[in-house]
């Protein structure tokens, strides 16, 4: 039996009916990974995964996700399993602790088969900045899968795993989900613990999930999200069952279209898909309302002050002293710092650290960092106002479909604009997701649904209803002609 492209729920059922054993499932997974050409994984966890699968088959482990193989983005610390964050500086780093998200998923019984490739320290939108090589898009191996969670997205899209974790700082779940034709969700900031998640920009980073559909994402969120005393920014809200409202009727619901999100200069296919999706929601009884978010145009520049500033400080701990890469043949301490960091970090990481250092430095703080924090509030206020009028906001997930590897590496700003539609939700902290909703020249494109604070259930409900009435999400790279 082929397990490729099966959903989480389907595999769960097969396991429950004992149509397949967890061991077979995990063994098959590693077989598929070994023949894959997408470079989705940095580190495999074969021995431990097979042992855990056997334990499940012998009835020794339970849980909602018991016996199911999943992949972890290599940004989550995994106890005794190498965690690189896509960087040379952590090439040999073996954490003595689990991220809370990893712990939660493990407690639910899932089996981690390996750590997925990613842009170095999650800085990138194409997965080309990984020290461990670019990830290839399973729909077209010459193209990028998006980033930074490109390995996770590609692994799910290729059917190597039915689910994977990701993190989203400016679109790092939604953009690769869109470019790989799968479903990905970033919950409200603070829903998932950041403990053990290697920080890029602490006030923006949020863990989330990739799966083949919204229902599976809801199931995953049930375990990914939790209050955590170890994370001061973790929300203390009661645990929610994200599956509960997934079948609600959309009749009378209001969907906001942001006036300032100009899609008229995007490709015809992107525009057409967007119009088609609107029609589908209309047929399900939802209404469209134009909302004005005048400050949303400030999102990308705001983000490129806040995120680099935080990252410049967050990445200071990688200094070659306590763990991680240390350069050889150093003259003195300064030399050790400079060589270890310069040899350990790639160019994009260096660029962002330098930008962050610059905007925080004496004399520039007010002009950049403070200003960006002020515009961040203005953007947040736009969301608060919009959500007083509508239930969800809808936009394309990314400006285009997957681009060719190497085509945007020369111009960082062009790359930054990949996150044009996704960045604002991180600045405001609201939940958002991407679902597949069409193709542009045989390449998938995504639809973004943004929800109000703590309204993950609402966007999952919209997404699930959409997927019940469309088949974009069940297409896969082996599907043949997708036009």
């Amino acid at each position: 039996m082929s397990i490729k492209y099966k959903t989480l729920s389907e595999l769960k059922e097969l396991l429950e009916k004992k149509d397949i054993s967890s061991f077979e499932l995990v063994e098959e997974t590693f077989k598929n990974i070994s023949s894959s050409k997408t470079n989705s994984f940095i580190t495999l966890n074969e021995e431990v995964a097979l042992t855990k699968a056997k334990e499940f088959d012998q009835g020794e482990c339970e849980g909602d996700l018991a016996g199911l193989p999943i992949a972890q983005k290599d940004l989550f610390c995994t106890k005794n399993l190498r965690t690189t964050c896509g960087s040379r500086i952590l090439e040999n780093f073996i954490p003595p602790y689990n991220a809370t998200v990893v712990e939660n998923l493990s407690k639910a019984g899932s089996i981690c088969v390996g750590k997925t490739n990613m842009d170095e320290f999650a800085m990138g939108s194409s997965n080309e900045t990984s020290y461990f090589g670019a990830v290839k898009n399973p729909w077209d191996l010459e193209r990028v899968p998006g980033g930074s969670s490109g390995g996770s997205a590609a692994a799910v899209a290729e059917g190597l795993v039915c689910a994977a974790t990701g993190t989203d700082t400016g679109g790092s779940i939604r953009q690769p989900a869109a470019l790989c034709g799968i479903t990905g969700i970033k919950p409200t900031y603070g829903r998932a613990s950041r403990w053990g998640m290697i920080a890029f920009a602490s006030s923006l980073d949020q863990a989330g999930a990739f799966a083949r559909n919204a229902e599976d994402c809801a199931l995953l969120l049930n375990h990914i999200c939790s209050h955590d005393e170890k994370d001061s920014t973790s929300l203390s809200n009661d645990k929610e069952n994200y599956l509960e409202n997934i079948n609600n009727d959309l009749k009378g619901k209001k969907i906001g279209i942001v006036k300032e999100f100009d899609i008229s200069n995007l490709s015809k296919e992107v525009q057409d898909s967007f119009e088609q999706s609107k029609k589908i929601f209309e047929s399900l009884g939802a209404n469209f309302v134009e909302v004005s978010m005048p400050n949303i145009k400030l999102s990308v520049p705001t983000y490129y002050v806040v995120a680099p500033a935080e990252c410049s400080s967050n990445l200071s701990r990688f200094d070659g002293v306590k763990y991680g890469y240390r350069a050889e043949n150093v003259n003195d301490l300064e030399d050790l710092y400079i060589k270890s960091r310069s040899e350990g970090f790639g160019d994009e990481v260096k660029r962002r650290i330098l930008i962050g250092t610059y905007v925080l430095s004496a004399g520039f703080y007010d002009a950049y960092y403070k200003k960006a924090q002020q515009s961040r509030r203005m953007i947040k206020n736009d969301f608060v106002k919009a959500f007083s009028e509508v239930d969800v906001i809808m936009s394309p997930s990314s400006p285009s479909s997957a681009f060719k590897i190497g085509s945007k590496t020369e111009d960082p700003i062009e790359m930054y604009l990949e996150d044009l539609f996704t960045i604002s939700s991180n600045l405001a902290g609201v939940p958002a997701m991407s679902i597949p909703h069409g193709f542009s020249k045989n390449l998938p494109i995504g639809l973004q649904l943004i929800g109000n604070y703590l309204e993950e259930s609402e966007i999952l409900n919209f997404a699930h209803q959409y997927q019940k009435n469309t088949d974009w999400h069940i297409r896969n790279p082996d599907f043949g002609d997708n036009s």
């Binding site: 952590l90 780093f93 602790y97 950041r194 001061s232 920014t233 200071s316 200094d319 430095s361």
Partner: protein, 475 residues
């Protein structure tokens, strides 16, 4: 030309919490290197800080004691710089909204009271320790201290001499130990200070260029370091040179300050709000709780000792000046033991013993219970005050129970007047010349007779009875 000195002190007080400011690792001093290091203290990737409630309680207690404003909403910022004992590459501190602002401390310099205003007191984490003498060509890092909560107390530049600086530091020391905010152990670095020193011509309104002397950890060194630095700066200016703004170290062996060679001057700390920590709010209820458990301060204690316990003013001040001494005193005194006697012994006899051994009362062999017993035995007439000193000396060496010493050494006071009468009679008979002289008007000889009786009874005779009986026999 005459110069005046302007000094501002930044005092770092390690808060006496059990755990670190942002992790649950112990802050105990003197453990094996790197054994009190949590994931957070090592600054591992992805780990996060959570604030220690008690550190806030202690900081606020200090703030209340100096009549400062307490910011019930305070925030944490990151101070970014690279140093091997700073594991995260930044120190978490309170730059923009410190927990304590304003307030003042009174200092006493040769009997003159001066008020030093406090700019702010903020919470921050301590760094680890770099040790430079373990290997010839390497330094080693111990992170046990990394993350220990510090209260940095910043004074206004209102201190005008090394002597005042020492008084200020002593006043702070007394306060923080009394409040149980810091253990005050300067030799272990629990309380240390950075001194910003500048000089200017008398009458100038603008401040001169200052230098900062880092990490001075004793009262003596504060005085010496500042005095050296003042002299150095005067020499520089009188030679027509300029004082360079720099950080200097005090070398106690050479008794001099010298510039630090590290490139710290090239730093730009790039402070910004720590995104891992949200604003810390102290509720009104929490404030009330802290106020309710606020300890009595030396001044109030001294006043209470005088008015309620009728203690001599000077003795009351001395007993209340140290936390250990006042706790000891209060534990030892009860309805059956005389507070005046207690204070008198603490200041006199016990004070000299403490000075001699250079220890604190809680480090001595004398427990408050045992002292209480001793006081009772004096009050109930079992022993005289004089004998009490003998007993005390024994306790000081052996730590034995007062009653046991009195019993074993037969020190119980002679109360039986017939015994005293017999002894007195014998003394008078043996000294007929003196008796005649006394009767002839030499009153001073009365003391001689008392002394002889006491000598004969090895000091155990009840002094009052001796007096009464001698008077009767000699009349």
């Amino acid at each position: 030309m005459s110069w005046e000195t302007v000094i501002g002190l930044e005092v770092h007080a390690q808060l006496s919490t059990s755990t670190k400011l942002f992790s649950s690792a112990s802050t105990k001093f003197g453990s094996e290197p790197n054994t009190q290091v949590d994931l957070v203290d090592l600054g591992l990737p992805g780990v996060l800080p959570v604030v220690n409630k008690d550190a806030f309680k202690k900081a606020i207690t200090f703030g209340l004691a100096i009549n400062a404003d307490i910011n019930q909403e305070s925030t944490f910022d990151r101070k970014n710089y690279f140093y091997p004992d700073l594991p995260k590459g930044y120190q978490i501190t309170q730059m923009t909204q410190p927990i304590v602002e304003g307030g003042s401390i009174e200092i006493n310099v040769d009997g003159n009271i001066k008020t030093i205003n406090i700019t702010r007191a903020h919470l921050e984490e301590d760094a680890g320790k770099s040790i430079h003498d373990a290997y010839p060509d390497k330094s080693v890092i111990d992170l046990n201290r990394a993350g220990t909560p510090l209260l940095e107390i910043v004074s206004e530049p209102e201190i005008s001499s090394a002597k005042e600086a020492v008084s200020y530091m002593k006043a702070l020391h007394q306060l923080v130990t009394f409040l149980d905010v810091c253990d005050g152990d300067m030799s272990q670095g629990s309380l240390r200070c950075d001194a910003n020193v500048s000089i200017r011509k008398v009458g100038d309104s603008e401040l001169g260029t200052r230098t900062e002397i880092k990490n001075i950890n004793s009262f003596k060194f504060i005085e010496k370091a500042i005095n050296f630095e003042i002299k150095r700066q005067i020499k520089v200016l009188e030679n027509g040179d300029k004082v360079i703004q720099e950080t200097r170290l005090y070398d106690s062996l050479k008794d001099e300050t010298r510039p630090m060679r590290s490139k710290e001057f090239a730093n730009d700390y790039r402070y910004f709000p720590d995104p891992d920590l949200l604003p810390v709010i102290i509720s009104d209820d929490e404030m009330d709780e802290i106020k309710d458990s606020f300890p009595e301060l030396p001044n109030e204690k001294s006043k209470r000792y005088i008015s309620e316990l009728k203690i001599d003013e000077n003795e009351a001040q001395i007993v209340s000046s140290s936390r250990e001494l006042s706790i000891f005193f209060e534990l030892a005194v009860d309805s059956e033991s005389d507070p005046k006697l207690a204070a008198n012994l603490l200041v006199g006899e016990i004070g000299s013993l403490l000075n001699k051994d250079n220890i604190k009362i809680n480090e001595s062999n004398l427990s408050s219970d045992n002292f209480n017993t001793l006081l009772k035995r004096i009050s109930d007439g079992t022993i005289s005050k004089k004998i009490a000193k003998t007993v005390l000396a024994d306790i000081w060496d052996s730590g034995k129970d007062a009653d046991e010493i009195i019993k074993n050494q037969g020190l119980v006071q002679i109360q039986d007047e017939s015994i005293i009468q017999d002894v007195a009679q014998k003394i008078l008979e043996a000294n007929p010349d003196q008796v005649a002289a006394f009767k002839g008007g030499k009153d001073k000889l009365f003391g001689f007779f008392v002394g002889q009786v006491m000598k004969e009874t090895q000091g155990k005779a009840n002094p009052k009875s001796v007096n009464d009986i001698l008077k009767k026999l000699l009349s």
